[in-house]
Symmetry: C2
Subunit: 372 residues, 2 copies
DNA sequence: TGCGCAAATGTAAACCTTTACATAAGTCGT
DNA sequence: ACGACTTATGTAAAGGTTTACATTTGCGCA
């Protein structure tokens, strides 16, 4: 579209010089910078190309509906004026924006960034853009983004939050097509794309069992986070299969943070019942556990084995490097966006859950149980 | 604004039932859910409140210009309909969106998330919203966001990228008011808010000197990243003051990544010239260095001291915990947004640079140089 | 009573698109 | 040569606001 030389680069034409609709004057070229004060509108292009604005619009969106010669003239005019469609006006008219809003409570979540890349790639392949909203779990901010959605500034919603946007219920608003990613939305029928938590956790537990551990604690139990519940279930399934009685299982509550991992260690020491291996609900917890153990002077992995879930970037750089279950992040991102976009054109009726099978990443934090 | 009981909660009124402008029928209350199929417009509110749309708009934005009784009626109508202004139409009309776009090449940057919070708080205190654009250093994406800006979907730009958005030059477009945050834009006059790199780095180097080190390597030198250049300068200043000859200084190039830190260690071993302390251009590099040293079997901090810059979350959880210079992240975010918003109303002429003084965070990675 | 002024509200234009519909100009077959 | 299509283009409405300007109303004061 961009012309090659300086020839087309400049025009004598200046916007808003005509009070009436008028046949454009013959073009004369001068060496004046292209950029105008205010961005060019479709009308400027039309005037320059000596056509109506309707034709310009068509030349852009339905090129086959306009004669070749006209099309060329329009394209030149576009190049000259540097015209780009005013997305605001376009969206207002069309009732949609070709934008997807991703709502995340914490941009800093180490999982978020690579999932986002998957999301974005898929979106842009379908002509959609992605905007990120940072809620910080703040109801006010949630409300703000609801307004954003409400005025068609985004056509679809991707929830990374594990819950519907705060304020949603009170405002009695309908959400646009929505998909939950990474973390299922507890107690709702919002379609979900994420890792197969149960299977992944089971793999982890089985690996510990296969390494000879019989006394395996589960750190980070939760009653409210669906994903964590499922990981717990994977743990139980594996231990069931190994015929380890429920009474033998050490389960410690936690919120999935580093701090709660460290706290869990303290609790176990208070109770004075120590496992040989710690299976953690996620890597953050595992890091906390490793820190807690190191702080008490233990040598890892000799004294205890630890396994995580997620494979956050940091996992590699722990000492010992953390053995964990890897989130198939870009696959999750891709599929979630695909599901959402599909949903945009033909709303799906039944609940849908896409679970992706994760792999175990073996590093250095699990060994055979020693004689401590 | 929301009424208390169920009384105002419902209305018999249904939108778009009137072909003509007509005096609204007396309200009758029924128990029907409030939410309508399509979101309420200002016209619905006007009809319900028996006023013109102009009055509704005024009641919202200039309450003092409308009679108290009218205002109340309008507010009730708003509560009933659940009306929220269509931001799209508003922006189109007003030529601005009250949104700020933050462009970041990598959302995963551990510094980004807390700076963002500072940005957001300041923005919302002034009635602005924040949207995040993820460029991945991809020119196409940069272009996409330029279009976004071009159609007034954002009034200001905050660059976290260290460079202008790709595609800017070719599109000969003017950027909206812009401020660079965290990383100055190399070779431009864009105002910048960030840490005082020189002073911070100098503090770090002086701390190493005070700990008794005389052989201090600088890891992660760069010719293109302004912030890194400044850190290098701080290092030089400190060593100058300590009368350590430039010839004595070990300086290794790097890109500020974990990998490049590890690589730097390898290079030094190849050269067979080892310092007693490593001063790293940032924490990522420091982590790489510590990993590289650990991989070679050294015991930190006994064998070598390492100091970083940034204080990323991970720094606490290294073994030993990393001594580093803390980025005043939320202050940076706050000030950057403040500068941008100020800039929005009255464009500033002279270049402006706001440098915030950082503190040293002493942890465990620096000791007195031993007799290795 | 009537005039001037202030306060409250309404009317209509403008922001920039897209698109249904109307119009104009060819083309083709008979 | 003419009606039936097809193709290319133009006209104007609609989308939901904000706001300059016009109008109406009410009040105080001479």
């Amino acid at each position: 579209m961009r012309t090659s030389g300086g020839f087309w680069g400049t025009a004598s034409f200046r916007r808003r010089d005509f009070a009436f609709r008028v046949r454009p004057i013959p073009l004369q070229w001068q060496s004046v910078p292209v950029s105008t004060q205010t961005p060019a509108t479709i009308e400027d292009v039309a005037r320059l190309a000596e056509v109506s604005i309707a034709t310009v619009s068509r030349a852009i969106h339905n090129p086959e509906k306009v004669a070749k010669s006209t099309r060329q003239r329009v394209n030149q005019a576009i190049a000259i004026t540097g015209y780009t469609t005013n997305a605001m006006a376009r969206s207002l008219r069309m009732g949609r924006s070709n934008m997807i809003l991703v709502l995340a409570p914490d941009i800093g979540d180490p999982n978020f960034s690579s999932i986002l890349i998957g999301l974005e790639n898929e979106a842009r392949a379908h002509g959609y853009g992605v905007l990120i909203g940072h809620t910080q779990n703040d109801p006010e901010r949630g409300l703000e983004y609801l307004k954003f959605l409400n005025s068609n500034q985004a056509d679809g919603l991707l929830l990374f939050t594990g819950h519907e946007p705060f304020g949603h219920q009170e405002m009695t608003q309908r959400l646009p097509p929505t998909v939950a990613v990474f973390e299922p939305v507890f107690g709702s029928r919002i379609p979900y794309v994420g890792v197969d938590d149960t299977a992944g956790a089971r793999k982890a537990a089985e690996y510990l069992l296969a390494s000879g551990h019989r006394s395996i604690a589960f750190i980070g139990d939760s009653k409210t986070r669906l994903g964590h519940l499922r990981r717990r279930k994977g743990y139980d399934l594996a231990l069931d299969a190994a015929r380890i009685a429920p009474a033998q299982r050490l389960v410690v509550d936690g919120e999935g943070t580093i701090e709660s991992g460290r706290l869990a260690v303290e609790q176990l020491f208070m109770r004075d019942t120590l496992p040989t291996a710690f299976m953690c609900v996620n890597d953050a917890t595992a890091i906390g556990v490793m820190n807690g153990l190191a702080a008490r002077g233990y040598d890892l992995p000799r004294d205890f084995s630890v396994i995580g879930f997620d494979d956050v970037p940091q996992a590699t750089y722990m000492t010992p490097a953390l053995t964990t279950v890897r989130q198939p992040r870009s696959a999750i991102g891709r599929q979630a966006m695909a599901l959402l976009l599909e949903n945009l054109t033909q709303p799906l009726t039944e609940q849908r859950e896409v679970l992706i099978m994760p792999d175990l990443v073996v590093r250095g934090s699990v060994t055979m149980p020693g004689k401590r």
